[in-house]
Amino acid sequence: MNDQSVIESRQVTKKYGKGESEFTALDNINLVIKKGESVAIVGKSGSGKSTLMHVLALLDQPTQGSVIIEGANASSFNSRSLDVMRNKKFGFVFQQFFLNGNDTVLNNVILPLKIAGISRKKRNILGMQSLEQVELTNKAKSKAVELSGGQKQRVCIARALINQPSIIFADEPTGNLDSQTGKAVEDLLFRLNKEQGITLILVTHDIEIANRCDREIHIVDGKLTNESSK
């Protein structure tokens, strides 16, 4: 593993509201995540772990401080560049899947490439390759709604993989799955992390899955507490 930083947060503070009702969701977070690392952001609900992920994933802007992606300061980007950055560099896996149920599995997987404006032919080839990695090529033509929970999350992973991202953000990826299928999804994510060197940033309150990561970042009331590294 090399020591190159892929994503950094420098004194990131995020506040909501004004005056009396002001609420600090993130309080002066300093964090460096290296290329190929797997990092768990652990905390109770309302601790600010999702907000931290949103800020790191450039879905949200910090009130103060800055996020550095591969050495570039994201606060200097315009909104178009932020869109392109998320489209090209990041993969997202959500707890609620966010699949278009009436559309085919393949069409769900190729959505990031469609947004990027890649031709139909090329994106279908890449989509099938992506489905191969999650062993769901036989379901390519099925409607997403017909799949089981575990299969749906694997489709989401295939979608996250399709743009060959440098980072995958996974927000409670096993939260909606039973322990057995959850384990399979976990295995898949960690295998991609190890085999392809994709940086994995996992948001979870599940201690077991957090333990499998290279590093755990604990967050309480918007502040980092003990960081444990193995």
Binding site: H54, A57, L59, D60, S79, R80, D83, V84, M85, R86, N87, K88, F92, F94, Q96, F98, N100, N102, D103, L111, P112, K114, I115, A116, G117, R120
Partner: protein
């Protein structure tokens, strides 16, 4: 997302909720159909009238009357009664037009004045012809007849037009007169003599003969009676005027003047201005046509308003449909934004959906209107319109159809802006948290 993907994504989203989309399209459909039909009728009648102008009279003819400065009789209007002018003769209309409307009478002095105007080649008084009856092989029937001026080319079903140079009494009759005059078809009456009975001012009745040279088709305007050549018209007028004092028999309300056919519009305008300066009002056939067209346009605009109201209601349908769609697809929009779709593209996506509703609604509406037009024209030409040969009641020029479709797509786009802006402003974090 490239343009084809935007179109296909918009299209598949639209037809995901089929019933809702279909109902919105139907609303647009009704508006598009109404506008197309009303315009189709307008265009159909106008093009028919244009064809009929030749039947109405030559285009190088001016109908001239004395300019009537006070239009109505005493006691009406805001200006009060006009001062008495011993030189001006007035006929008060009790029949046609507003009761009490004055028509100023002209005499030979006026003819001389008109003839003195440059570019006027001839000026003849128009005498109302009021024969008592016509008779063919059997039976007496009322006859409506007027003099044929200039080189008119009436739409003839049989025979030839009348010859104004001829000394012979000639007339052309509408097709509907043929059987009343005792003939079985249009051909058989050609060259036959018709007896015309005329009452003079002393109550004495006498008859003259005229030859039928042609049979005209029934026209929407102008062609409701027979046409006489100059010889016949003069003779009828002479006979009916017997016993009238010269001051009356030599006065008339209208003069028919001709000008060279090659005059430009500017020259014609100069001519009418010159007439105006001398106290006359001159109208060409084109002017009369324009008067009819103006009235027709008003009617069409009123009818179009119904279509516009339908479209206005329909555009609120589009707003409603798309707002519901934006609400339902909050997560989808959020996901697309998280995965890097720009707000501008989201706006475009929803705008395309709106425009597509407009497109399908208007295309179907226009197509259905065209179908109705075809059916009505086919039925009409064999039924209620068969007396109007050459009339396509509904005509749809491509330019009108395109204007309707593009106009409605524009309205749909405008209706779609509110939902599209709302969609483009969705915060992906909020949207993805939304349950």
């Amino acid at each position: 997302m490239n343009f084809t993907d935007l179109i296909s994504t918009a299209s598949s989203s639209l037809f995901k909720s089929k019933v809702r989309t279909l109902l919105t399209i139907i609303a647009i459909f009704i508006g598009a159909m109404t506008i197309t039909l009303t315009n189709g009728i307008g265009t159909g009648i106008k093009s028919y009238l244009n064809k009929q102008i030749g039947d109405l009279g030559a285009t190088n003819v001016l109908q001239i009357q004395l300019t009537n400065t006070t239009k109505y009789g005493p006691g009406s209007g805001n200006t009060g009664p006009a001062p008495y002018n011993p030189k001006q003769q007035v006929a008060i209309s009790a029949g046609n037009g507003p009761r009490g409307k004055k028509q100023l009478l002209m005499n030979n002095t006026d003819i001389q004045t008109i003839k003195s105007i440059p570019n006027i080649t001839s000026a003849i008084p128009v005498h109302p012809l009021s024969p008592a009856y016509m008779m063919g092989r059997s039976g007496k029937y009322q006859l409506s007849i007027q003099e044929q001026y200039g080189s008119t080319t009436a739409a003839l079903l049989a025979g030839l037009g009348v010859n104004n140079q001829s000394n012979q009494n000639q007339m052309i009759i509408p097709a509907t007169y043929v059987s009343a005059l005792g003939y079985s078809n249009n051909q058989s009456i050609l060259g036959q003599q018709i007896t015309i009975g005329i009452n003079n001012a002393l109550g004495k009745q006498s008859t003259i003969k005229a030859t039928v040279t042609g049979v005209e088709q029934n026209a929407l305007i102008g062609g409701l009676g027979a046409f006489a050549n100059s010889a016949l018209a003069n003779q009828i007028y002479q006979v009916q005027s017997v016993g009238l004092p010269p001051a009356i028999s030599d006065s008339f309300t209208t003069v028919e003047a001709t000008f060279p056919a090659n005059l430009t519009n500017t020259q014609i305008n100069q001519l009418t201005t010159e007439l105006k300066n001398k106290g006359f009002t001159g109208q060409t056939i084109k002017d009369q046509e324009n008067t009819i067209f103006t009235a027709l346009n008003v009617i069409i605009i009123v009818l179009d308003m119904f279509g516009v109201i339908a479209l206005l209601a329909a555009s609120f349908g589009i707003i409603n449909t798309l707002l519901m769609s934006v609400q339902e697809r909050t997560k989808e929009i959020g996901l697309m934004k998280a995965l890097g779709m720009s707000p501008r593209k989201i706006f475009t996506l929803f705008s395309i959906e709106a425009v597509m509703i407009g497109f399908w609604g208007s295309i179907l509406g226009v197509a259905f209107a065209a179908l109705i037009g075809k059916v009505v024209n086919t039925i009409g030409s064999h039924g209620f319109l068969k007396d109007f040969k050459g009339l396509s009641l509904l005509t749809f020029p491509l330019s009108t159809i395109l204007a309707v479709v593009i106009g409605i797509m524009l309205i749909a786009f405008l209706a779609g802006t509110l939902p599209a802006i709302r969609a483009s402003k969705k915060d992906p974090i909020e949207a993805l948290r939304y349950e």
